[in-house]
């Protein structure tokens, strides 16, 4: 009589052993007096060869398998009493007394590797009989062989696996086995299968675990995994012919042969794994009321085996939780669900089978991350630091993507990276004097690099310790940080070679201002410095208060203009240049003049400011300076009468043309500041004008003024930035490579954003449409735009004046009045354009300073997206202008005059008002002054002065209607030093005295006495704008 037992060893092999009833009887007669102190041979276990004989007697299959099986000894912990193992119930010995304990015994076994084990268990599976009567060679009669419960249980587990395989309940996956890729069929049990497996777990005989294994659940999971793979592989062996190339084909072929190992390039393998995991894991059940979540907890308390010690760094825990979708804060630990307690009951109200749903989702997660399914009914995992880091870095994103909940420690979300921090100190070279208040871009500063994690700067010792830790997660000053050995090595190497030294300030600024700056592959986390450089880096230039203005400054700055003044002043204090790029009409001129006035008032103006502008703006600057900053000594270096020397002045105004011609003379002055107005004129740094501008010696800083948007023309932005702060933004080529190409050609929003941050301290741009700015603006801004005459205009003007003064002397009364009015009319026409006076149909060309200024204004307005009404009182001038402007602006210009029929007039208005319609509307004052609704416009330009401002106001109101628009700018173009300016002054003076005084059209002019008339019409020298 034999009893045949089985167990599954940790090495993945089946062990069979048997008790021999005859040996038991013999052993009882020779029982030792004392219990064995070490594992000794089981006294009635059959020799392995005897087990093989028994199997051979069962049939040729088991017999053949037994012949292949090696004989070994296993140490089993078996019930024992009084120094001897107690027999199993399968031996007909009788009941065992009490006092039994487990004792280790050495038992002879036959070992079967997995394929043979699967075959043997299939052969021995017998649902009807638990034993057999055998005919053993050399033995008389039959011998009874009883199957122990351990053997029958293993055949049951194998049977379940066999049936799963037969129903195709398995998914193909890529495993790693012994460091090599392995094609594996992973069980995909259905609900009934799970129940059956659970029953097997609950009914597992302890004898199966006699070799010391713990956990029937883990054993069932392992066996199903092995046997399902084995059985499917056996069934498919040879079905698929090898396919030559590719990881997918190699893997597929390996799924169809006995050995699942295969080879593939690492990159292809990784792609296959990813594709497969994504496909198999699919999506979470669409309407499930619950969601599986994973919560990673860092070690918090001391280790269990050392309650007084500090927390272990390797005691991480990953808990599996069930989240109720409608109550996301309700997280039920899987352990509570599997216990079948209240949590189970609560979930059972929403799910047919909560445990099944949980396990199915866990299976889905395991397709992405196999380590999440360590057993049949896991509730969580213990992880060491490496495991925790792998979960944080790799598993968490994967699981989140697959629709699982993932809860990570808060610090991980904002974990700082290892980087390098730079500290700079400035020391004046021996024999030189430190300019305490300014940043000298050309100066050299001493620096020291330090490794840093976030804001925490590391000592050399800490960095060394991090490198020695060989861990990806390290507790540093009480906080967990993620470190990368490669990055630490890079930091150590860099600090050893370049830890300290000196570098130009410009280079330091580049590092500080570029948020994406890296050194040795590591991010630059911080740049700090002492002195004014430190103030700049700390952003304190933005916070400075506006300096005080002298009491006689001729304007009250709006709040945003005060901020602009403060910004300019802050830059000047640090010796850094800037680009003031406010929209047109926001007051770049008055902010610049305020800076000069404030410096003079404070006594800090150390030298003159040179202002360079287009010829058309000279008069404007001159007039604005006289109006706002009368305390400044202004010299206009312009015109044919200019000398070769520059007289002493606070503000010298010149043009780009003169600058180019007088470069040497202008370079002879040490300028406190150079201001480039309409700085887009120097956008091409290769031109002679641009080179002349950049070569001027400057002691404090450079300012560029421009209202043209710069974001979309990055090479121009670079030219402006490079003018303001030479070299700070790198070469044109490097700027193009770093910013222009990514933004303009690839539309990179990130790079665009980085550029804005980088250039931010040096560019101030406010839009009139910005609600904060608009709130500070008056509802209607009225601006006088000063223009100069060209030489041709001036010649004509003087000829008309000479004529009228001559003719006026000999006439009186009505005739004189008519002559004076006609002459003034002619002078106004000259101010507009020579062609208007000459009526010669000659091309407009560049013969009028006013028309040139008009073109500049319209170009700028259109660039800002504005719509403009342009009024003239002369229909003839309008007819000349329309084709000219259409050509110069490159877009349609509408024109409405008194001769336009009503239906055409309505059509023009409708087109202008329509979104996307023409953006410039030219109107004669009489035709367009009344009865029109032109509220699409937000800019109004009056080309020539009407004697009665009420008429102008009426026209302006076509665009400006209270309650409809609050952003209309009204410009009146006035030629400097001409009758236009003087009449404008008279009108303003009269309006100031009494509004009614100017309500009678032009008649009041005709009564002027001769000397006043002469004064009115005579041309000033400053009127001429030609270079």
């Amino acid at each position: 009589m034999y009893a045949l037992h089985a167990l599954w060893r940790a090495d993945g092999r089946l062990a069979l052993w048997a008790e021999d009833a005859r040996a038991y009887t013999a052993a009882r007669l020779h029982r030792p007096a004392t219990a064995p102190v070490a594992a000794t041979a089981h006294p009635f276990a059959a020799p392995a060869a005897e087990v093989a004989r028994l199997l051979a007697a069962l049939g040729p299959g088991p017999g053949w398998l037994a012949e292949q099986a090696p004989e070994r000894w296993s140490t089993l912990r078996l019930p024992s009493l009084s120094g001897a193992p107690t027999p199993s119930p399968q031996l007909p010995i009788g009941a065992t007394g009490r006092g039994v304990s487990l004792t280790a015994w050495r038992v002879p076994v036959l070992l079967f590797p997995q394929p043979e084990a699967a075959q043997l268990l299939g052969e021995l599976f017998d649902p009807y009989w638990s034993g057999a009567s055998l005919e053993l060679p050399g033995t008389e009669g039959s011998v009874e062989l009883a199957y122990g419960a351990s053997l029958r249980w293993l055949t049951a587990v194998h049977d379940l696996a066999w049936r799963l395989g037969g129903r195709g309940r398995a998914l193909p996956v890529v495993w790693e086995r012994d460091g090599a890729p392995y094609a594996h069929w992973q069980p995909a049990p259905e609900r009934a299968d799970r129940r059956e497996a659970d029953a097997l777990v609950r009914g597992c005989p302890p004898a199966v675990l006699a070799e010391g294994r713990t956990g029937a659940a883990e054993l069932v999971a392992e066996l199903l995994d092995r046997f399902v793979d084995q059985e499917i592989r056996t069934a498919l062996d040879g079905v698929v012919a090898p396919v030559p190339d590719g990881a997918s084909a190699a893997w597929w072929a390996a799924l169809h042969r006995a050995d699942g190992r295969f080879q593939a390039p690492e990159a292809e393998l990784a792609e296959l794994r990813e594709q497969l995991a994504v496909w198999l894991a699919g999506s979470p059940p669409a309407d499930s009321p619950v969601r599986l979540c994973f919560r990673l907890s860092e070690p918090l308390g001391p280790a269990d085996d050392n309650p007084e010690g500090r927390p272990s760094d390797d005691d991480w825990r990953l808990d599996f939780l069930i989240q109720v979708v409608e109550q996301p804060s309700l997280l039920i630990p899987a352990a509570e669900l599997l216990d079948g307690g209240p949590a189970f009951a609560a979930l059972a109200r929403q799910l047919a089978d909560p445990v099944e749903s949980y396990l199915a989702e866990l299976d889905r997660a395991a397709l992405r991350r196999p380590e999440l399914r360590p057993g049949r009914r896991p509730t969580g995992l213990k992880l060491d630091r490496a495991g925790a880091l792998d979960f944080l870095r790799n598993a968490a994103p994967t699981l989140t993507e697959a629709g699982f909940g993932v809860l990570l420690p808060a610090w991980w979300q904002r974990r700082p990276a290892l980087g390098l921090a730079l500290t700079a100190t400035r020391t004046a070279p021996p024999g030189t004097v430190e300019r305490a208040a300014q940043v000298d871009r050309d100066a050299v500063v001493d620096f020291r690099w330090q490794a840093a994690i976030g804001e925490v700067k590391l000592s050399q010792q800490e960095l060394t310790d991090l490198g020695a830790a060989q861990q990806g997660l390290v507790r540093l000053r009480g906080r967990w940080v993620e470190v990368d050995a490669g990055q630490i090595a890079a930091a150590v190497g860099f600090l050893a070679r370049h830890g300290s030294g000196s570098l130009p300030t410009a280079e330091l600024l580049r590092l500080a201002l570029d948020p994406a700056a890296t050194v040795a592959g590591l991010p630059v986390t911080e740049v700090t410095a002492t002195g004014p450089l430190g103030e700049l880096l700390a952003g304190r230039t933005q916070d400075t208060a506006a300096p005080a203005l002298p009491p006689d400054f001729g304007a009250t700055l709006r709040p945003y203009q005060e901020r602009g003044l403060a910004w300019l002043h802050g830059l000047a204090r640090l010796g850094l240049g800037g680009v003031l790029a406010d929209d047109m009409g926001l007051g770049k001129t008055v902010q610049t003049l305020a800076l000069l006035a404030a410096e003079q008032y404070a006594g800090t103006a150390t030298g003159p400011t040179l202002l360079v502008c287009p010829m058309s703006l000279v008069g404007n600057w001159q007039r604005e300076a006289a109006r706002f900053a009368p305390m400044l000594r202004v010299h206009v270096h312009h015109g044919s009468e200019r000398g070769s020397s520059i007289p002493s002045a606070d503000l010298v105004i010149t043009t780009y043309g003169v600058l180019q011609r007088d470069a040497r003379a202008l370079a002879g002055t040490s300028w406190r500041r150079v201001v480039a107005d309409e700085a887009q004129y120097v956008k091409n740094s290769a031109t002679a004008q641009s080179r002349a501008l950049r070569s001027l010696p400057v002691t404090v800083h450079r300012i560029a003024l421009t209202g043209t948007p710069v974001e979309n023309r990055l090479s121009e932005l670079h030219a402006l930035l490079d003018f303001a702060n030479p070299g700070l933004f790198g070469s044109t080529e490097s700027f193009r490579e770093r910013f222009a190409v990514p933004v303009e050609q690839h539309g990179s929003a990130d790079v665009g954003s980085r550029l804005r941050r980088l250039s931010g301290p040096f560019v101030l741009r406010r839009l009139k449409t910005d609600p904060l700015i608009a709130a500070e603006l008056p509802a209607k801004q009225e601006i006088t735009v000063w223009c100069n005459l060209t030489a041709e205009q001036a010649g004509l003007y003087q000829a008309v004046v000479a004529d009228v003064l001559h003719r006026e002397q000999g006439i009186r009364g009505v005739e004189r009045k008519a002559t004076v009015l006609a002459a003034i009319g002619k002078l106004k026409q000259v101010c507009n354009h020579p062609a208007q006076l000459l009526h010669d149909r000659s091309p407009l060309g560049d013969r009028s300073g006013k028309v040139a200024r008009l073109e500049e204004l319209l170009t700028e307005a259109l660039a800002e997206g504005d719509r403009v009404l342009v009024f003239t009182q002369y229909a003839e001038f309008g007819r000349l202008l329309q084709p000219h402007l259409t050509e110069r602006l490159g877009e349609e210009v509408l024109y409405l005059h008194g001769g336009v029929p009503k239906h055409r007039r309505e059509e023009l208005v409708a087109r202008f008002q329509a979104p996307g319609g023409p953006r410039v509307f030219l109107l004669s004052l009489r035709a367009g002054g009344t009865g029109l609704n032109l509220t699409a416009a937000n800019q109004v330009i009056h080309l020539d002065r009407w004697w009665n401002p009420a008429v102008e106001d009426q026209a302006t109101d076509r665009a400006f209607r209270i309650g409809q628009r609050r952003d209309v700018q009204v410009r009146r173009l006035v030629c400097v030093g001409t009758v236009e300016e003087r009449i404008a002054d008279l009108i303003e003076a009269k309006r100031a005295l009494a509004e009614a005084a100017v309500s009678t059209e032009e008649q009041w002019l005709t009564g002027l006495d001769p000397s006043t008339l002469r004064e009115l019409v005579t041309l000033s020298a400053e009127a001429i704008g030609a270079d």
Binding site: P127, A156, R163, R169, G203, P205, A249, W252, L272
Partner: protein
């Protein structure tokens, strides 16, 4: 008196099934409803190949699987 925990050492509580529980209601192959895998093998999608494999397994009479 507590039952002796080792008294059941050799015993199990399970049933060997004489036959698969009456043709189990087939819930479909494991990859049904997942759509194309996007993994091409010999020019065919893995999902298609797997469906054939599952059919082949389930059509066998159990002698080999």
């Amino acid at each position: 008196m507590e039952p002796d925990p080792l008294a059941r050492f050799w015993d199990g509580d399970f049933t060997l099934r004489a036959a698969p529980p009456a043709p189990a209601p087939v819930e479909g192959f494991p990859t049904e409803g997942l759509g194309p895998a996007g993994i091409r093998i010999g020019g065919r999608d893995l999902g298609t190949l797997l469906a054939e494999t599952y059919r082949r397994l389930s059509e066998q009479d159990g002698s080999s699987a």
